[in-house]
């Protein structure tokens, strides 16, 4: 299998300045002979990403995500470890690599604000040495895919955030990169725009086999774009498996909502607790290690006729928080029935 990214035992530390004592003397001492300490941002991370794979790279703030991304894009040299991106060593082959990677940072912009996005596209075509014919065909494909035509001639500052993000994505894909780094690509967008951006990234990756490494605090991005999740914290890798494995491994509880023809369903089973009760509607938290869902449904059917049944996983956000905390997923505190 060809790898888009290969990392082995990656380490990177930074020297940071220690805060001086909160006094005049401390401030002077800090100025004359500043004290520094070594901060390990990335501590022996290893993983690989196959060509065409879409991977979420998540972790809390300060986990080491940005540092890893900067190493992968060649901005920073690693202290130790093996790094190959699309067969190149990023820090040594930064210019070569630049032609083959694309980056989208949700909170930053590469578009010229007073000009139409088409002007930025033309500049990027020059920067990436795209021949005119290739630029035209590539741009028209992206305009069609990202539905940019209606606002292509408007100055960027007049575009909505969603429209701007679609243009940013088009900018990053103009030179047909084999690997796309996405950093919070949906930050600040409304629900519809988020869904559209996620859909477009997925479509683009499937269509051209573009590998995607996505960092985001929005678990919706992870769920709807990626097929695999890598979780890091304090510079160390905590989890690296498929999204399905993540759910299977960390979901010990499911939420079951039963709507029956009985006003009050008196279901008593080990590992099952009622978290909300309304007339004809009961919400249960089921520990699936103790009582499988099938057994719960079977028992409910024995008590009443079921008119509706919903089984929900806990939100991915809770799962991720549990991974950060190094614990298995706990159910939410019990709520009183209204």
């Amino acid at each position: 299998m060809n790898h888009a990214i290969e990392l082995r035992d990656l380490k990177k530390s930074f020297r940071t300045r220690k805060a001086s004592a909160p006094s005049f003397l401390g401030a002077v001492r800090g100025l004359v002979s500043p004290q520094t300490k070594l901060f390990c941002a990335v501590d022996g991370i290893s993983f690989s990403i196959a060509e065409g794979e879409r991977v979420a790279f998540i972790g809390p703030n300060g986990a080491g995500k940005s540092t890893t991304l900067k190493i992968l894009s060649g901005i920073l040299h690693p202290d130790e470890g093996y790094v190959r991106v699309l067969g190149l060593t990023p820090a040594d082959d930064r210019t070569k690599l630049a032609y083959r990677i694309g980056t989208v940072f949700g909170q930053k912009s590469q578009l010229w604000q007073e000009l139409p996005a088409s002007d930025t596209f033309r500049l990027l075509a020059r920067i990436y040495d795209l021949p005119e014919a290739r630029f035209r065909s590539r741009l028209s494909a992206l305009i069609e895919l990202f539905e940019l035509e209606p606002f292509l001639a408007q100055p960027v500052r007049k575009l909505s955030l969603g429209q701007r993000m679609r243009c940013e994505l088009a900018c990053s894909l103009l030179h047909a990169p084999k690997l796309l780094f996405l950093d919070e690509p949906t930050i600040g967008l409304d629900v519809t725009a988020k869904a559209r951006v996620r859909e477009l990234v997925r479509e683009q990756s499937e269509r051209e086999g573009t590998s995607v490494l996505l960092t985001s605090h929005d678990t919706g991005d992870t769920e709807q774009v990626c097929e695999r999740v890598i979780v890091i914290n304090h510079g160390k890798l905590l989890f690296d498996q498929s999204l399905a494995s993540l759910r299977a491994r960390f979901i010990t509880h499911k939420r079951v909502t039963l709507v029956s023809d009985t006003a009050s369903l008196g279901l008593i089973l080990p590992g099952v607790r009622v978290i909300a009760r309304e007339p004809y509607k009961t919400k249960l938290e089921v520990d699936i290690r103790v009582s499988p869902i099938a057994k719960v449904v079977e028992s409910a059917l024995a008590l009443a006729n079921l008119q509706d049944l919903t089984i929900e996983d806990p939100p991915l956000e809770q799962i991720v928080q549990a991974i950060y905390a190094g614990t298995s997923l706990r159910p939410e505190p019990e709520r009183e029935a209204s």
């Binding site: 930074f14 020297r15 940071t16 941002a41 940005s66 540092t67 991304l69 900067k70 894009s73 060649g74 901005i75 920073l76 040299h77 930064r94 210019t95 690599l97 630049a98 032609y99 990677i101 980056t103 940072f105 909170q107 930053k108 912009s109 590469q110 010229w112 604000q113 007073e114 000009l115 002007d119 930025t120 033309r122 500049l123 020059r126 920067i127 990436y128 040495d129 100055p155």
Partner: protein
């Protein structure tokens, strides 16, 4: 091929500067205000017989050139500072083009556009004010004539580019200190004082003139202004040579500073 990238960057920056009409109008208004105000001040001073060495028309042309340079140079240091503080530099570095020279060329693009518009407006206004200052039969040109003005104008374009190099250098300080405003504040005040923004250095005391001569500031403002109003050929050649020396030195400094800035990014993590 590389040159085309930088030309494209300069061209888009010029287009962006042209599209930002409010900023341009503000600059034109400020330029006009300065010229009109100083035309009046020189008139009042001349009425008291305090102006002898340099004529009112020449003083006005001198100011038109120095202000033209000062107003045309875009705040590139702020752009670089913004890139560093916002982390936008992470966007710009992994590209097949030098971040530093791309930014510089963008600055050049905006600078040329401003020079063109401010120059057409300011020189026109200056010609009117100079003629009215010196009387209806007087020349609208500086005492060196149109050729001196042309030479001064061309030198001013190079001086403005040198100003931009220094602003790039100030911008790069953001990699180390984040906030470039204190560095720029000191630079600007020294530049205006020792560069002779408002009066030619000939009007300064000798001691100040010799201090100024040891700095790059006269090359940035005074030299083009002095050439424009008419200077000895020896002065002009010396000024152009000095300008070239400072240009080479400052470009080298910028190059070295960028290497150190990238190293600072490596150490501090950006």
């Amino acid at each position: 091929m590389k040159l085309r990238k930088y030309l494209a960057a300069a061209s888009i920056a010029a287009a962006e500067a042209n599209a930002a009409r409010a900023a341009l109008i503000g600059q034109l208004a400020f330029y006009a205000l300065v010229l009109v105000l100083y035309a009046r001040i020189w008139q009042l001073i001349a009425q008291k017989g305090a102006l002898a060495a340099i004529g009112r028309g020449d003083l006005l042309w001198y100011l038109a050139i120095t202000e033209w340079i000062a107003l045309s140079v875009p705040p590139l240091h702020l752009e670089i500072e913004r890139d560093v503080r916002s982390g936008n530099v992470a966007y710009a570095l992994p590209r097949p083009v030098s971040y530093l020279w791309l930014r510089f060329c963008e600055g050049l693009g905006a600078m040329f556009l401003r020079m063109l518009l401010l120059g057409m407006f300011g020189f026109g206004l200056c010609a009117i004010l100079a003629r009215s200052a010196a009387g209806p039969n007087a020349s609208m040109w500086p005492s060196g004539g149109p050729l001196a003005l042309l030479c001064g104008t061309l030198t001013a374009v190079v001086a403005a580019a040198l100003n931009l190099v220094f602003r790039t250098l100030i911008g790069l300080s953001a990699f180390f200190v984040q906030d470039t405003s204190p560095v720029y504040w000191v630079w600007q005040k020294l530049s205006f004082a020792f560069g002779g923004l408002l009066f030619p250095l000939d009007m300064y005391p000798d001691s100040l003139q010799s201090i100024a001569a040891a700095t790059p500031f006269p090359s940035l403002l005074y030299a083009p202004g002095r050439i424009a109003i008419g200077a000895e050929p020896a002065f002009a050649w010396r000024a152009i040579a000095t300008l070239a020396v400072w240009s080479i030195m400052s470009v080298l400094c910028v190059h070295l500073a960028f290497r150190r800035a990238q190293r600072a990014l490596e150490i501090n993590g950006g």
